[in-house]
């Protein structure tokens, strides 16, 4: 498989405003693929189109070799596309452990009989514990998710995304609002999980982006300005002028 996603003339308009404007791109599979760009460039809208939160106004989307343009979000999730949200999106009133267990169980939806005890669905609790350990929240599993610190909630959401055993993770600003220490451990987590998956990031923290990305896609006003390795992007005249400017 050469690419994870392929889009063809993908557009999304909001009452005449072109949030995503005619994007045709291939996102290679494997590695950390980061999308950067100024606010309003269309990064989150692009994510919403890939994950199925929004239908496109025009254009088509392929995942691996399948046309997914018309698939509802849960069907895309079952194909192996998992996403996190810019604003933390977890089950606040449920415990941390219950959050992860529901995500682990999601893999069985439509395959197992959900009126029989969950113990019939194989090693669910083992899997749950493994994910909890992975994201470092094992000791907080009985806490209500809404009572976690902001950083822990962000990590829990990454845990939910991981638990559905996705091929591709779409992470929308996973580091937003994190302390330096939390950022460090989350970056380490992302590096661990990318081993046999594709991670597509939207992120504003330029130093981190430069450090962990395999390729960077720069978006501006709904279109693609440049694609390249971190060093290519750093030295790209257009990008420097439009976006990085005084940062480098």
């Amino acid at each position: 498989m050469s690419y994870a996603f392929r889009t063809e003339n993908l557009s999304r308009h909001f009452a005449g405003f072109r949030a995503v404007n005619d994007i045709s791109i291939e996102i290679p599979s494997g590695g950390v693929r980061t999308i950067i760009g100024p606010n309003g460039a269309g990064k989150t809208t692009f994510f919403n189109l890939l994950s199925g939160l929004l239908p496109p106004t025009q254009g088509r989307i392929w995942f691996e070799d399948q046309n997914i343009t018309a698939l509802p979000a849960y069907r895309r999730a079952r194909l192996g596309i998992a996403r996190s949200f810019q604003i933390t999106n977890i089950f606040g009133k449920l415990s941390v452990g219950e959050n992860v267990r529901l995500a682990v169980q999601a893999v069985y939806d439509g395959k197992a009989n959900f009126f029989l005890p969950g113990s019939r669905m194989g090693s669910m609790s083992e899997r749950t514990q493994q994910i909890l350990a992975d994201i470092g929240l094992g000791e907080l599993q009985d806490t209500r998710a809404e009572n976690l610190s902001h950083g822990d909630q962000r990590r829990l959401e990454i845990g939910l995304v991981l638990a559905v055993e996705p091929k591709v993770l779409l992470l929308d600003e996973p580091l937003a609002g994190m302390s330096p220490a939390e950022t460090q451990s989350t970056v380490a987590l992302i590096k661990r999980i990318v081993a046999n998956r594709t991670v597509i990031l939207v992120e504003h923290d330029i130093d981190t982006v430069m450090a962990i990305s395999d390729t960077i896609t720069v978006m501006q006003t709904g279109g693609i300005l440049a694609v390249g390795t971190p060093s290519e992007i750093r030295n790209n005249e257009h990008v420097r002028r439009a976006y990085l400017g005084d940062l480098t």
């Binding site: 979000a73 999730a77 998992a82 999106n89 606040g92 449920l94 529901l102 009126f115 005890p117 939910l160």
Partner: protein, 345 residues
């Protein structure tokens, strides 16, 4: 104290067993029939409300028309027991009547299941929130007006009277005419139905319902087919009001169109909110309080509904998670923390 009765099915069974004797003023030896009657009403509405609450409290869809399933169950039982002779178009439908409980129950459930199956697929994917509430209300009104207007079949405004109670195999034929015999018969049926509700809530299906209630978008993006869960929860929650309606007919030995009215649909909403919608047991407690209040206050004033309304408002303000929700808060967080939760809102 509630730690002692830790398993909800255990305390549900105990409460059903002693309910008629729990009512304030009840004396097992004096005036028993009156309290047995109140107890029967409470138990039947507990089942109605808990079935309804499977949809409202556990997956988060507020149906304002669940009385339609109650009234269909009630009328099917009444018509099958009493028999009917009605002309529909050119067909003349005649039924002589039966005294089989199983037969009436199965057909009540069957018709409600068929209607709920179709209705769920029709309206659930197309509506949510207040729109869902209004559409369920509209369908309930259709059923209500059919029972109200179709004199030849449903008895119209007067309903159907003189419906005999069923005879149980192995028991004398008038066995269930005795109030307390009927109470315990109904209590056993209700307990079995409540055990099914408990099983649904505790299954993986139930935990997905809770996830959808808390955050349907996150559930969808984990790969859950949210629409399928909402359709199935609607279907399942329609079955229990049908059982309750069947028992209601046998208990009252008559049925009027009221059983499908807005008031009945609203009553289970109120009971669930009073008792605590996020709990298994709450609606039963709500039924107890509602009927107990009605029974006592109606002796003092004919404006008893206004009094219940005030009590309801006070409870919703002071215990927004319902009475059983407040009890669980005290158990889980201690009295002081529970108070703080109430007054910080």
């Amino acid at each position: 104290m509630i730690r002692f009765f830790k398993h909800p099915l255990l305390y549900t069974a105990i409460i059903l067993a002693i309910l008629p004797w729990l009512l304030p003023g009840a004396n097992p030896f004096v005036g028993r029939a009156g309290f047995i009657d109140l107890g029967t009403t409470i138990a039947i509405f507990a089942l109605f409300a808990m079935g309804f609450n499977l949809l409202f409290g556990h997956i988060g869809d507020l149906s304002f028309g669940h009385a339609m399933f109650f009234t269909i169950g009630a009328y099917v039982t009444a018509l099958l027991t009493k028999g009917f002779n009605v002309t529909v178009g050119s067909a003349n439908l005649v039924w002589a009547g039966t005294n089989s409980f199983i037969f009436s129950m199965v057909l009540s459930l069957g018709l409600v299941a068929a209607i709920a199956f179709l209705l769920g697929r029709l309206i659930v994917p197309r509506s949510s929130g207040i729109y869902f509430s209004m559409i369920t209300l509209a369908f309930a009104q259709v059923i209500y007006f059919i029972t109200y207007k179709w004199d030849a079949f449903t008895g119209g405004e007067d309903g159907l009277q003189a419906i005999s109670r069923p005879s149980l195999p192995g028991f004398p034929s008038a066995f269930l005419n005795e109030s307390w015999h009927f109470y315990y018969f109904a209590a056993i049926v209700i307990f079995v139905a409540l055990a099914v509700i408990w099983w649904v809530i505790e299954s993986p299906f139930g935990s997905v319902c809770h996830a959808i209630r808390e955050n349907d978008q996150r559930a969808e993006f984990l790969g859950y087919d949210v629409r399928k869960y909402r359709v199935n929860a609607f279907f399942i929650s329609a079955l229990f009001p049908a059982v309750a309606g069947c028992l209601w007919t046998y208990y009252q030995q008559s049925i009027t169109p009221d059983a499908g009215s807005i008031e009945y649909s609203g009553r289970v909403v109120m009971m669930s909110l009073l008792g605590g919608i996020h709990t298994f047991f709450g609606p039963m407690l709500g039924s107890f309080i509602y009927w107990q209040l009605q029974n006592d206050v109606a002796q003092i004033t004919k404006y008893w509904e206004a009094v219940i309304g005030v009590v309801f408002v006070v409870f919703v303000l002071v215990a927004p998670r319902g009475i059983w929700g407040a009890v669980e808060d005290v158990e889980n967080h201690g009295l002081r923390a529970a108070f703080r939760r109430v007054f910080s809102r």
